[in-house]
């Protein structure tokens, strides 16, 4: 092959917004098992709260939208390699992620809720001492727990039990092998609603508050601006609220 010329200065990252416009299509990366934010209906079509938001926002930017399922572990790499243009799937804003991607204005508040079976003796964070606590692998809940090292050390085995999906975690809670689950409040509410709210209890304590945002490539500053504007418009004209009510029964978009 031809010899590659090594550039003496790092190349200025190119803003891809124009390319996306030219293409007429924006690619949204999501984990299609992530109920209720982004998943598929029985026919295999993408659906979910974030999916509907994204579809509406794209329309307002004059773009078609394409949803691309990705391995959640690899989402930032997928973004870097331009396989996708946005990460939009209950994506929690954290400091380490901010180093790799730009976030839009937060559009949803979230907290890391603690869920137990209804008849549990666990009533507060302190009661978690010596108990088996589950959460999802590589989730923001896991990061929130890790950040509270004091409490985590008290857990049985000194660390949470990690499941691939919250679905598995809830099954394990019911089988009695774990005593509590830490999960995004929004997800936990959805799951408990599906499985029967009365079976579960939500503790008053939690592992902190956080916010969801949409991840955009660092280089794509104009895309970020346009997306922020589209989201603002949707919040103002009630479209976002309507979608929220459809999925959560109330307007929780901020």
């Amino acid at each position: 092959g031809a010899k590659e010329q090594t550039p003496t200065t790092p190349p200025v990252p190119k803003d891809n917004t124009a390319d996306i416009k030219a293409r007429g299509e924006i690619i949204v990366g999501l984990d299609d098992t992530f109920v209720p934010m982004g998943f598929r209906d029985a026919a295999g079509n993408f659906t979910g709260f974030d999916v509907e938001l994204a579809a509406e926002a794209a329309k307002r930017m004059g773009l078609k939208v394409k949803f691309q399922p990705i391995d959640w572990t690899l989402k930032e790499t997928e973004l870097d390699s331009k396989n996708i243009d946005l990460i939009w799937n209950g994506y929690t804003i954290t400091d380490s992620r901010k180093e790799k991607v730009n976030f839009t204005t937060p559009y949803l508040d979230n907290s890391q809720a603690i869920v137990t079976m209804a008849d549990s003796e666990i009533k507060s964070k302190a009661d978690l001492a010596g108990k088996a606590v589950a959460t999802q692998t590589a989730s923001s809940a896991y990061e929130a727990i890790s950040a509270d090292a004091e409490t985590m050390k008290g857990f049985k085995d000194g660390e949470p039990v990690l499941f691939d999906t919250y679905d598995d975690a809830f099954r394990d809670l019911e089988a009695g092998r774990v005593d509590a689950i830490v999960a995004d409040l929004i997800l936990a509410r959805y799951y408990t609603a599906q499985r029967g709210t009365e079976k579960y209890a939500f503790l008053d304590d939690n592992f902190g508050d956080e916010e969801y945002g949409i991840g955009v490539r660092k280089s794509d500053v104009s895309l970020l601006a346009e997306l922020n504007k589209a989201m603002d418009d949707m919040k103002k004209d009630g479209t976002a609220a309507a979608i929220s009510i459809k999925w959560f029964g109330e307007n929780i978009v901020k």
């Binding site: 598929r40 209906d41 029985a42 295999g44 391995d71």
Partner: protein, 213 residues
């Protein structure tokens, strides 16, 4: 039952991906494995060692990581492959290594006398290999090859890392959405059917080759 009919179409679509990746990988990696086995056994020292190193790396690291490397690592050096080609490349390179070892063992198990008879009769080396040794190797490697093929059917579910949806992925989506294990059970049944057919075909091949010992 109604529920199964509801989710079946999308599951079958996933099964299509599974079968495509399986079939192409099998068709390409088996001959490639043979070539590698030959290179290891008959190649000069350098080639033989290169193949051994290749096999070590391919068997020594998870297919999942190889897939990530080919799909997301290669673009860093300017080689960008689409999802399906990237998956196929990773699967073929990986499985060829496993097949190579099976075939090597099979080739080594043929008694030296068979080669010697061929040589003394004046047959060319490739004739001896293709017409004398290979048919006998085939008979001996069917069972371990069957093992690998069945593992392959299920390994295809790894394509989720490049964002492709196979039957298992389809089942998982339905399972979390509908809070039930039924889709996973259904996926199990679909796999079982595919592998049941595969088992039958391989058994037939084994029986057909039992005319000699």
């Amino acid at each position: 039952m109604e529920y199964i009919l509801l989710i079946l179409p999308y599951m079958l679509k996933g099964l299509g991906t599974t079968l495509i990746v399986f079939a192409i990988t099998a068709i390409v990696s088996i001959p490639l494995g043979f070539v590698l086995a030959l290179a290891r056994l008959r190649g000069n020292k350098a080639l033989s060692r290169a193949v051994q190193t290749y096999i070590l790396i391919m068997r020594g690291t998870p297919l999942l990581l190889q897939l990530i490397f080919i799909y997301l690592g290669l673009p860093l050096v300017g080689i960008t492959l689409d999802r399906l080609p990237a998956s196929l490349l990773a699967f073929i390179l990986n499985y060829a290594a496993y097949f190579a070892e099976i075939f090597r063992a099979g080739i080594e198990s043929i008694p030296q006398g068979q080669y010697e008879a061929g040589r003394v009769l004046g047959l060319k080396e490739h004739e001896i290999f293709l017409k004398v040794v290979l048919p006998q190797v085939v008979k001996r490697v069917i069972p371990p090859t069957a093992n690998e093929l069945m593992t392959l059917v299920k390994d295809t579910s790894l394509v989720y890392v490049v964002g492709m949806g196979d039957v298992l992925r389809a089942a998982k989506i339905a399972a979390v959405r509908d809070v039930t294990l039924i889709p996973l059970g259904l996926a199990g049944v679909l796999y079982l059917i595919v592998i049941g057919i595969l088992t039958m075909l391989l058994k037939k091949a084994e029986t057909r080759l039992s005319y000699y010992r």
